[in-house]
Symmetry: C2
Subunit: 597 residues, 2 copies
């Protein structure tokens, strides 16, 4: 059975030493969350992850969710109790505004908590995770009455929320959706249609479920211009907040999925269910996209979460499993065999996971801090720069962290040999669970297209120019530091390739958009590598400083410094291959006729 | 539900046009298997794959195998009947010698049949597949009495066979095995111990199961030098071939696996079971390795098989699924949306799978023909060259085809968006099934180590030198052909990188073996790419010739020529990144202490 230990010290190191958390003290929420408080919150989050959520992860996968004859859904044993503990601990509203009962803590802290929880039990974390997204949309687009009636219960976790976008014939292309809304004459609408793949669509853990549903008002334009967002509660809510009768929305079936079995992914049937408009008519997609950006960061975190827990278990196994001897001579002659950690290829595998995990965690914290600036800063320039960063980095984070997170689970599983393929060891569940993150909230191909087709050119390329400036400044700032040389050289090489690729896209992608599409996957991953490289540069700098200041930490800082060196030796060089591929353009692939495939 | 169509025309093109099958007419078996016969056999294999095996693939996964209270195992609905049809068609003994009732057809033909069957139903194919491996070991190491008693029934498929190597504490390192054999005094042995991960260990499809079991004779040396191979039948076999009583071997449980649910992977308990020695005392590992080399090629084929069926379904879906519009303007303005095949990134994904599939199929056929030469040729020089090729290429085929085959299933699944994650569409089963091929018959890390640690340097590097010579000769032979230029340039670049890496290994791997271990994974994949490149060179040459000879085939040959171009543009460039990684050596990863992981 797998185990998990939340990397609290690593999160604290990143917040403190790498990103200078204390500099954000002037933002709302940060003043109340001093580093002492942050540490205490993280320790508590570690506890609930390790002691409450992780122990029901494997059993939840085995048992799955059950749809009963009356269309209710029973979650796996222990989930209801775990949710109660999670809710009572105030974790659902950790970053929600205090006026609705939230803790008002920085988003960056919420994102670290989310990482731990998803490492421990990804399927569980989706219930409150979806709820947080729905609450964000409600707070941003709801009217005062809607907010007053629904937000406090959703922030407390008494009620949960969902997002209903996909229909059988449309996922990415929401303009095709058919679910319709007919005015009831009293300001409400009757919603009719079928939604699929609805995470946490029906369950037994909360008193009510608030569905946010995309639908087309009768007579509205075709395509994306005619889509509105509706709030449809499972149980009607009376004006005093008490629950009324059951609404005409129900779970038709639970999808048979590859993984995340403990999350009830539902087919939801709307049979004239009563809903109220959330935001303006025909502006539903805009409202939904607010939710989706937050959700995409959340999914990126899941990629890191599973990579982290898979790494921990693979590293432990590699130290424990005795099999064969080191090719450079027995390392444990007193034992029947050496632990497999003696083998270079085992170390290469583990380090490639670890070098990603630490950089990805830094990338998330860096970006989550920008989200806090966007939400709270009164400095318009800082706010805009942070928004640029979020827009540019969200597709990169979602695409790269989930692609690589999945690959890393596969690599970690491989360390176990045949045992990795057997359910009891838990590694194959990580692979199956991690797989969905590459698909939902916009499949990764869509993320790549969003990056090259939209985000890159926005405002004359302002965001990407800023990023290149930031990398250049970091290199310049540290180039006289001898100890930083190995890191800066790799970063310089990677960013050079990325700049060449960006130039190529500007010259070849605008005139011929297929060139941009053909480059998108490679460009996204190349960008991710360079961002990881900047993270490793920053981590190395902070590790060198801490090592110099405190000899007792030299050993743990050396581990970081060597892992970073590994990153630049073995992972960053991929940017060169990406550049070559991008530069070949789209001609060959577009020349093929459909029947040739 | 997925579908499958065996690529018979592609196999014939490779045999005929690329590898000049007719040149092998002097080998036993080939004369009787003229191209007409080959085509008829392949058409029949296509039929049984498409009509008998594929329809029970998804249902078999859902139902799985059941261990009954009496330790018997029931296979999923339809498997018993399918096995009878398979057996009655003579497919089990397709390449087995006629003297034992086999069809004596070339191994290359058997390998193509295996490809189709595993595409249709990998879990099913493992039952006869393991049997073929066990039969090969029996024929090579058994004494006359053993062969006469067991081989005909195994070749006919009335009885099946298994391989019993792994124990809970040892997989790769068989020297640690504990199963013991005690002489009964009558020439037989009493075998006692537990084996795990035994594919097809117990089932209801055959009258008897012949287990080949590694065990240590009481008093034999520790380590690999004291291991013997035993033949242990499920039912004792009387001297007249009739079945006697049940032997003391039984299935303790069925493993709970990630995939291949329809194959009964068993924990096998030997409680003083009676067995006879197969081959010489303490030479069991040698005997087993004969089986394992054949088995490794079989596993490599599974990688191709799943990549092929996953591709077929993804390509069909990409033509069918209407979603969004081409970024270069609507391609099907009369429909609600364009098929997703209009998107460059979808084409990039599909072509990267296809460019692998066609090259991998060629690589298999090329190598299977060498196996036929090894088995049958009387020309000692040709036989030795073929044996060199097999030794060198087996780990590359096993490692690369299963790693990439799995990745390709993941890519094909991604084409389906959310539907790819749902069981009903069948794509997630391909991913789960393909995953095991990277692990069994020697995890891919072991294949990579076998390549750099053993095969590369064997006989002064004779095999690899021959390969480099072959590539150089191919380039030289075709360099005046203008149409071949794009293919030759890419091949030249790839083989240049591979030669540099080989040189680096010679200079740095011998003195410091950890450098070889650290390079092994990259070197194996780099070698695979160059071998694929040679295959694409040969395919392009044959396609150009056929196109020139027959205008009606220009369209289908153009598809190959463009896919090959894609390979050199987008896949071969990875050799550059592999070289950079390899050249960084092992120092960083070996410097880390165990507690740092």
């Amino acid at each position: 059975m797998p185990s998990y230990k939340a990397p609290v010290q690593d999160t604290l190191f990143l917040l403190n030493d790498v990103f200078h958390y204390q500099n954000y003290g002037n933002l709302p929420g940060f003043a109340e969350a001093s580093m002492d408080v942050v540490e205490a919150v993280l320790e508590e989050a570690a506890k609930i992850s390790e002691e409450i959520l992780q122990p029901i992860n494997h059993s939840g996968d085995l048992e799955g969710c059950t749809r009963n004859a009356d269309a209710t859904v029973t979650t796996p044993a222990g989930f209801k109790q775990a949710y109660k503990a999670f809710k009572d601990g105030g974790w659902v509203g950790i970053s929600a505004p205090a006026e609705f009962g939230g803790q008002g803590l920085p988003y960056v802290l919420g994102s670290a908590v989310m990482e731990y929880c998803a490492s421990a039990n990804m399927a569980f974390t989706m219930y409150p995770g979806l709820s947080q997204g729905a609450t964000a949309a409600l707070l941003q687009h709801g009217n005062e009455a809607q907010k007053a009636l629904f937000a406090p219960k959703m922030v407390s976790g008494d009620w949960t929320g969902t997002m209903n976008l996909t229909e059988p014939h449309c996922g990415t292309d929401l303009g095709l959706l058919k679910t319709k809304a007919v005015p009831n004459g009293d300001g409400s609408y009757a919603i009719t249609g079928q939604k699929i793949f609805i995470s946490a669509g029906e369950h037994d853990m909360a008193e009510n479920i608030i569905h946010l549903v995309l639908a087309r008002i009768e007579g509205a334009p075709q395509g994306t211009k005619g889509i509105s967002l509706f709030l449809v509660p499972k149980f009607h809510v009376n004006a005093d907040g008490s629950l009324g009768a059951r609404n005409a929305v129900s779970c038709g079936s639970i999808e048979h999925k590859m993984g995340i079995h403990a999350n009830s992914t539902c087919v939801m049937n709307y049979d004239g269910a009563t809903g109220t408009l959330l935001g303006a008519q025909n502006k539903g997609l805009n409202a939904m996209f607010v939710m989706m950006n937050e959700a995409r960061l959340g999914v990126a975190i899941q990629g890191l979460s599973l990579s982290e827990v898979a790494y921990q278990n693979a590293a432990a196994y590699a130290k424990d499993r005795l099999q064969g001897r080191s090719i450079s001579g027995a390392k444990e002659p007193g034992k029947v065999a050496d632990p497999i950690l003696v083998h270079p290829d085992v170390r290469r595998t583990l380090l490639s996971i670890r070098a990603f995990n630490e950089a990805a965690r830094a990338f998330i914290i860096w970006t989550a801090l920008k989200a806090d600036v966007v939400h709270h800063s009164t400095d318009e320039k800082a706010r805009q720069a942070a928004e640029d960063h979020l827009g540019l980095m969200t597709p990169i984070l979602k695409g790269c962290l989930t692609d690589i997170g999945f690959d890393n689970c596969v690599k970690a599983q491989q360390m176990f040999g045949g045992h990795g393929y057997i359910g009891e060891w838990g590694m194959e569940q990580f692979v199956r669970d991690a797989r969905i993150a590459m698909i939902y909230e916009g499949a990764n191909g869509i993320q790549a297209l969003d990056l090259v087709g939209r985000k890159l050119g926005l405002n004359g390329g302002r965001a990407v120019t800023t990023f290149f400036g930031e990398v250049a400044a970091f290199i310049k700032e540290n180039q006289t530091d001898e100890a930083m040389k190995p890191y800066l050289a790799g970063l310089q090489s990677g960013v050079g390739h990325l700049q060449q690729a960006t130039m190529w896209l500007m010259q070849n992608g605008l005139a011929k958009p297929d060139n941009a599409g053909a480059a998108s996957h490679d460009y996204m991953h190349m960008f991710g590598l360079v961002a990881f490289g900047l993270m490793w540069g920053k981590i190395a700098k902070a590790a060198l400083a801490r090592k110099a200041a405190d000899a007792s930490q030299a050993h743990s800082m050396d581990a970081k410094l060597m892992t970073g060196k590994f990153f630049f030796e073995r992972m960053m060089p991929e940017t060169g291959a990406h550049l070559v591929r991008i530069s070949t353009g789209a001609d060959t692939m577009m020349a093929m006729t459909a029947d040739m495939f």
